[in-house]
């Protein structure tokens, strides 16, 4: 099931991930970032920044209108946070545990953060975060960590783990997208995250967090899908259905 989490998200290129990270850092200082700030921070031309921004906007990760301000959406902030925290964790892992010089650690982290597979990276990050930050971790923490990774909840974990990564994973166990629902299967909408225009239409049609959807059928070839929601029925294209996370 853990693999499915990876499928839900559109894989971003390393450069787009870096842009998200930059926007996050810039918007910490003030509410919005501007193209030229981003260009300066990443030392690239404004033109290539706008192209990347259009792409990110179409993925529903930022808001970017003709006025040049840019701001992260909730989903964008989440993704950016993820990249940034990986970066920080990796850097400190190289520095603290492997005792590498700061510059080298930084460079290694930069290369690794994009190229490790999602699953491997997540495990690694969680492991390291666990080592460093889990305050109540007892001495047999390794066993506990494995217990936590099995996602069987806190009872088997043996202690209350407040690490968001840990909780997140347990919570995401039953998470999938509308598109992945099987015939007749029902799910509760958790998150609606696609390009702004499509998201607005989905919301207008009543696809909101907490609403129950049921997969009725698929068109020949599996696309579009036909769902039932609160007494009426809708048809969505595959890419629209993939943008809606549901919990089964």
């Amino acid at each position: 099931m853990a693999k499915k989490n990876g499928d839900q998200e559109v894989k971003l290129t390393a450069s787009l991930e870096d842009y998200l990270e930059t926007i996050l850092q810039l918007t910490r200082a003030r509410p919005v970032a501007r193209i030229k700030d981003i260009a300066r921070a990443r030392d690239v031309k404004a033109g290539s920044v706008s192209a990347a921004m259009k792409r990110l906007e179409s993925l529903g990760l930022i808001r970017y209108e003709r006025n040049e301000y840019i701001e992260l959406t909730v989903e964008g902030a989440r993704r950016a946070q993820k990249v940034l925290s990986r970066h920080l964790v990796l850097t400190s892992f190289f520095e603290e545990i492997l005792d590498m010089p700061a510059g080298e650690a930084e460079a290694e982290a930069c290369a690794m953060e994009h190229h490790l597979s999602d699953a491997a990276m997540d495990k690694f990050v969680r492991f390291f975060e666990f080592l460093r930050t889990c305050p109540g971790a007892p001495s047999n923490f390794l066993e506990l960590f494995h217990g936590c990774r099995r996602l069987d909840g806190e009872a088997e974990c043996g202690f209350h783990c407040s690490d968001p990564a840990c909780i997140d994973d347990a919570w995401q166990k039953n998470r999938t997208t509308i598109n992945a629902l099987e015939h007749g299967q029902e799910g509760t909408v958790m998150h609606v995250g696609t390009a702004p225009a499509i998201r607005q239409r989905l919301l207008d049609m009543g696809i909101l967090p907490g609403v129950k959807v049921k997969m009725e059928r698929r068109a020949p070839g599996g696309d579009p899908v036909w769902i039932r929601i609160e007494g009426y029925q809708l048809s969505l294209r595959r890419e629209e259905a993939e943008g809606v996370a549901v919990e089964v």
């Binding site: 909730v74 998201r199 989905l202 919301l203 207008d204 020949p220 070839g221 579009p224 809708l234 048809s235």
Partner: protein, 708 residues
Amino acid sequence: MLKKETPDPGAIRIAIAGQPNAGKTSLFNALTGSSRNVGNYPGVTVERRQGKYRFEGKQYDVVDLPGTYSLSSFSPEERVAQKELLDNMADVVVVVVDSTALTRSLVLLAQVIHLGANTVLALNMSDEAHAAGQFLDLDLMEELLGCPVVETEAHKRVGAQKLKSVIARAVEQPGEPRPPVLGERLSGALMSIESMLANTSVKREQRNWVACKLLLWDREFTPLVETQGEGGAEAVAQAAVLRKQIEEQTGEDISVFVAERYHGFAHGLVTETLRQRPRDDARVLSDAVDRVLVHRVLGLPFFLVVMYAIFWVTFTVGEHPMGWIENGFALLADLISANWHVDTTPALRSLVLDGVIAGVGGVVVFLPNIVLLFFGLALLEDTGYMARAAFLMDRLMHRFGLHGKSFLPMLTGFGCTVPGIMATRTLENERDRLVTMLVLPLMSCGARLPIWMLLVPAFFAPSMRAPMLGIIYLFGVVLALTLALLLRKTVLKGEEAPFVMELPPYRVPTLRAMLTKMMERSWLYIRKAGTVILGISILMWFVTSYPKADAHDIDAQIAADRATSQEEKGSIVAALNLKESFAGRLSIAIEPVFKPLGFDWKLVMGMIGSFAAKEVFVAQMGIVHSLGESGGRSESLREDLSRNYSSLAGVSLILFLLIATPCMATVAVTRRESGKWKWAALQFFGLTVLAYFISLVVFQGGLLLGFG
């Protein structure tokens, strides 16, 4: 040429808003009867319907807003509806909702109220809701909303009178719609933004709404307000801060957060006023039908049968009335020519016979197809099968940048491009509509069949003829799909419009609703496209009739040919006149341009003629054919063609005729349906240039490879 809309300054202005499929247009028809005017909003393909009615001695002007699910600013429909509501604040806004999907529909009501309109709520399809066992406390609903509520069954015109009197009351005593309760956090944020809008030109009653738009980072409002001085910029900045705050506190995207508040309001309203819940099995029958009609295996065959039936009715059944119309006009022409001697005012006689009568005939002849097709479309739409058809076909069509609903218009194109283009109305999205419209002429239409019947046997051996005909049709389809994809990537690129589509339960359509739709379309065609077609017909008549050939030349030619029979003389006169006409001169002048494609001026002449109507090519070729150098005229046109042109030139010619210059009726209808000459011009010149290059490559390539 077009009837100018004359808004009565003293009239009361009513706007009808509603979601698609809520029965908005039926309600509009029920209110206005037959007095309506259908046009386009300037610059977009969004339809604008306007009508009027009198009630208790007062005049009411009604405008039917485009159907939208909400008042956001993503689609042209939404922008138009919102603009109409904000800028031309109507005296009363009637919000039509689908009673069988109340919560979702009431979101739009909440937004219209929020926008500050004097609102009346029409609970449409109330019969269906009652049949499902759903009953509401209307008095309580009126009280909670602060605006009048009426139940209607628009398709049966039930409730229209009641609605009229409620509207009249609402005009005299505007209700006090209570602003929707959107929760403390949102309301607080809106008030704080609103206060900064005080120094801008935003109207007072609309400020709260605009504040909400700013909070949502609306792509229309944000740049607009930002330029409105200090206050505007401040409000935008404040909205950014609050948005961030709300998102951080709730962990939700702002658009989700706001949508949830609106839905919460609608949901609360329904819960409070619901006296009896609808039975869960209300859709059981419809669902059972769906299990068969969109069945994994049976769905597609059934779909194809339905499509074929519509095609068959439109064109095969339509052939008969078309024949009557053609005969009728021929009869009329005979009658006139018999009673109007050739020598009395010959120019006027020719204008009437060959220009006006042929032109009007050319307009009317499409009517049977259009009437029948739109009856079929109305049937598909009103029963609800259209949405299923789109569901089944979308995957295939979407690959080429088209929409599931593009299928039927394109199929219709095999019969005739004109009704096909008119059928693109069924597509909700502007870009889908334009792409479908622009590539539609590539579907080889029925009028091109006589051309293929002439050319294919002329250039191909008997065993090759059937496959060639198949290849022609297939090539058109492949090119249309490729071009559609290309258009999506270039001229019509942009963010993909949402497909998300409602699948309403099957309904039994009313004959009246279908007839109304049918008549409206047909009338629209005659009035708007017909006038353009007639105009071009007369122009075509002129360029092919003037100037006349010198009588001396004709005598000389006839003498040289030693023509004996009266008939032969007549055809030589016709041919020489055509050669001397502007069209003939033009063909000769541009012959060098078409030489590399393997065409001579006679073929070019035929193509110019085919602009009037594709099949005219055959007739024109028949006329110029009699201009042969040899005396022996016994050979048929077909033999003449195969003797004078190589097979390679034949292929080049077929390709050119398939792709190039849509006929004038197509141009006129494209102009009318797309709302802009720009698109008609793009279609016309784009296809012609494309045809030129394809024919050029084929002909020159063929020569290099040693064919021909």
